[in-house]
């Protein structure tokens, strides 16, 4: 009873503040939220919603550090960037009872490595990064990272790798069974040597072309995000997305509360709104990744709910987040990446 009373009081309070403030400013990825959702929030809470977009975590961080703090209320960084932003003191904290729908978050996504206990962020969408193989070219077992790093002859020389240091080095570490952000010399030397050897099998590095090279047939296998692979399949490529047994990269985009948010109460309302199952489902139907909210299933499109890319087999291991290393360790990994690409 006490609980209900406080939440009613809180709701009344936040609603009152919402009409008083009347504004919400969002900094989000491009094409990552349908306009109808923004309109719906604006109508429900009677606020004016504005949104700017970015195309990489680094671009967003740079813009915020270069003087845009205090201008936005909510941003949508990826997992490792949440940790970096928190480390740089760019995030505000909230208590869980400030967001009534916090209880809708799937419990496995609450104690996450990049924001233990969720003090700054709530889940937005999540997905995985591994690779896809053209099944017309290769029909053997693909549930191993050896497809990328020591491929069968059918695929050698026809592999595209994401031009993204963090994800390539994370998958390579999983393949060798060594931890990320390792400072062990033998492990790093092994990682360096393995990558240099694997490079002979690769045709190209490319991130924004990752889907196109699979569809066109330029690459017979390629590192890719699960949603991107689903789109390649929808465009007619006979590709299968792998959940390798050594592990794969998981990533999660999160809505965070920015420090010095001009409309903190509306920001919390918006985060609460995103955790409402029908809204979370609308987001997933638009972005084609996966929601971390319980109870979205009845609202999901069948094609997205049942896609093989979004439903790992029961035998698949858990995804691994890209680690955030300290500066000294990161410089070792930078050197390995430069070695690989020189």
């Amino acid at each position: 009873m006490q609980n209900i009373l406080t939440s009613v009081a809180l709701l009344a309070l936040t609603a009152g503040m919402a009409s008083a403030e009347g504004k919400l400013s969002i900094y989000n990825w491009f094409e990552y939220i349908p306009q109808e959702m923004l309109d719906k929030f604006a109508a429900e809470y009677d606020v004016e919603v504005t949104m700017d977009t970015f195309d990489s975590n680094e671009a967003m961080l740079a813009a915020l550090k270069a003087g845009k703090m205090g201008q936005y209320d909510v941003a949508v960084p990826t997992d490792y960037m949440v940790a970096i932003m928190a480390g740089e003191g760019l995030l505000d904290t909230f208590s869980h009872d400030e967001i009534p729908n916090f209880a809708n978050i799937d419990p496995k996504w609450i104690d996450v490595p990049f924001d233990p206990g969720r003090r700054h962020s709530i889940p937005y969408q999540w997905g995985t990064t591994s690779f896809s193989v053209n099944r017309d070219v290769y029909t053997g077992d693909i549930d191993t990272l050896a497809i990328l790093f020591n491929p069968p002859p059918e695929l050698s020389g026809k592999i595209n790798v994401l031009d993204s240091q963090g994800e390539v080095l994370a998958l390579a570490s999983l393949y060798l069974g060594i931890p990320q952000c390792s400072q062990d010399r033998e492990q790093l030397k092994a990682l360096n040597a393995m990558l240099l050897d694997a490079k002979q099998h690769w045709a190209s590095f490319g991130s924004d072309t990752a889907k196109d090279v699979l569809v066109s047939g330029d690459a017979a296998a390629g590192m890719i995000f699960n949603g991107f692979s689903a789109k390649a399949r929808a465009e007619g490529a006979n590709v299968e997305y792998a959940y390798p047994r050594e592990g794969f990269v998981a990533w999660m985009d999160n809505a965070v509360l920015l420090k010095d948010a001009p409309n903190r109460a509306n920001a919390l309302n918006f985060m609460n709104f995103l955790l409402q199952p029908e809204n979370a489902a609308a987001l997933t139907n638009y972005a084609a990744y996966t929601s971390a909210v319980i109870g979205v299933e009845p609202f999901l499109d069948d094609a997205i709910k049942n896609s093989p890319e979004n439903n790992p087999p029961a035998s698949a291991p858990q995804g691994t987040f890209v680690g955030v290393c300290d500066q000294a360790t990161q410089e070792l990994y930078d050197a390995i990446w430069t070695n690989l690409k020189k």
């Binding site: 975590n57 010399r185 045709a203 066109s216 047939g217 500066q327 070792l332 430069t338 690409k341 020189k342």
Partner: protein
């Protein structure tokens, strides 16, 4: 001499106004040329800030990284670092080859256009420049579509029975060459055209009257006269090719760094290193400057002779 006398005379007429009149030109040079170069040079001597940006403390670390290698873990005795010199060498070689191909194709093209009747020359020049109204990125991506294994070029070669399996061009150095050649060809054609157009063809006739062979005429008469155009064309192709990153990225598969992509990588991404990127740019610019100075010297000496 005549030129200097003329400008001297003009100078007397506007005495007192020279300063204010030159101001816009100096402001342009200062704001758009000197200031950025100065800023870049200063940045190359600063300390790297983790995850992008600079810390305003003097440091030679960027140049040290370029020249000396201390092993993967940075604690071995320093030895000369070949990584970046190799990248420079590769880029210079690529740019040089692209310039040569542009010259071989561009010179006859320019000659052809310059020897057309006056009224049709404009049309030919127009046709050379039309493709360049399209953005470089789009042209490079289009070239990628043409060259790919299942693209029109390979369809044609296989369809006509010339080849059994697709010619692998995409993601090779050959594709990068083609990309650079295609991107910068007009920069070669236009200056040579300008030089050839001013060439007095009576000189060729005179040479022929004096029993010079066609080859001798080309070597002894034509080339010396149009040489400034050729050199201008070569510089205009070589310098941007040296810093190109679109062609290596999109056509070469981004598998090996070129100078341009190495610099680009230092400024995007959280793994970037701004002072190092600035230092590489300064070194590249110094190299280009040396080449241009050697050329100016050589030309000055040739003119004196």
């Amino acid at each position: 001499m005549a030129g200097r006398a003329a400008s001297g005379a003009a100078g007397t007429g506007y005495r007192g106004l020279t300063g204010p009149l030159l101001l816009p030109a100096w402001a342009m040079i200062g704001i758009f040329l000197l200031l950025p170069v100065l800023l870049m040079t200063v940045y190359s001597f600063l300390t790297r800030e983790f995850r992008g940006g600079v810390d305003w403390t003097f440091s030679l670390a960027a140049y040290d990284r370029f020249l000396l290698s201390r092993g993967l873990f940075g604690d071995e005795p320093p030895v000369p670092e070949w990584t970046y010199i190799t990248i420079f060498w590769r880029s210079i070689w690529q740019a040089g080859l692209a310039t040569l191909i542009c010259l071989i194709v561009g010179f006859p093209t320019a000659w052809f256009i310059a020897t057309r009747p006056l009224h049709s020359r404009a049309l030919w020049l127009f046709m050379i420049t039309v493709p360049y109204w399209v953005n470089l990125l789009i042209r490079t991506v289009s070239l990628r579509f043409l060259l790919r294994d299942q693209g029109p070029l390979n369809d044609l070669l296989i369809g006509t029975g010339l080849l059994d399996s697709p010619l692998r061009i995409i993601n090779t150095n050959l594709a990068v060459q083609l990309g650079l050649f295609y991107s910068y060809l007009p920069f070669m054609v236009l200056p040579i055209y300008a030089a050839v157009e001013r060439y007095n063809f009576a000189l060729s006739e005179a040479a022929a009257d004096l029993y010079a062979s066609r080859w001798t005429t080309l070597r002894e008469i034509v080339l010396p006269v149009v040489r400034p155009g050729i050199i201008a064309g070569c510089i205009l192709v070589f310098v941007p090719s040296l810093g190109a990153f679109l062609a290596p990225d999109l056509l070469g598969g981004a598998k090996t760094y070129m100078i341009g992509s190495l610099i680009e990588e230092q400024f995007k991404g959280s793994q970037g290193n701004w002072p190092f990127g600035a230092a590489v740019s300064v070194i590249l610019m110094t190299l280009v400057l040396i080449v241009l100075m050697v050329y100016t010297r050589a030309r000055g000496r040739a003119e004196v002779r």
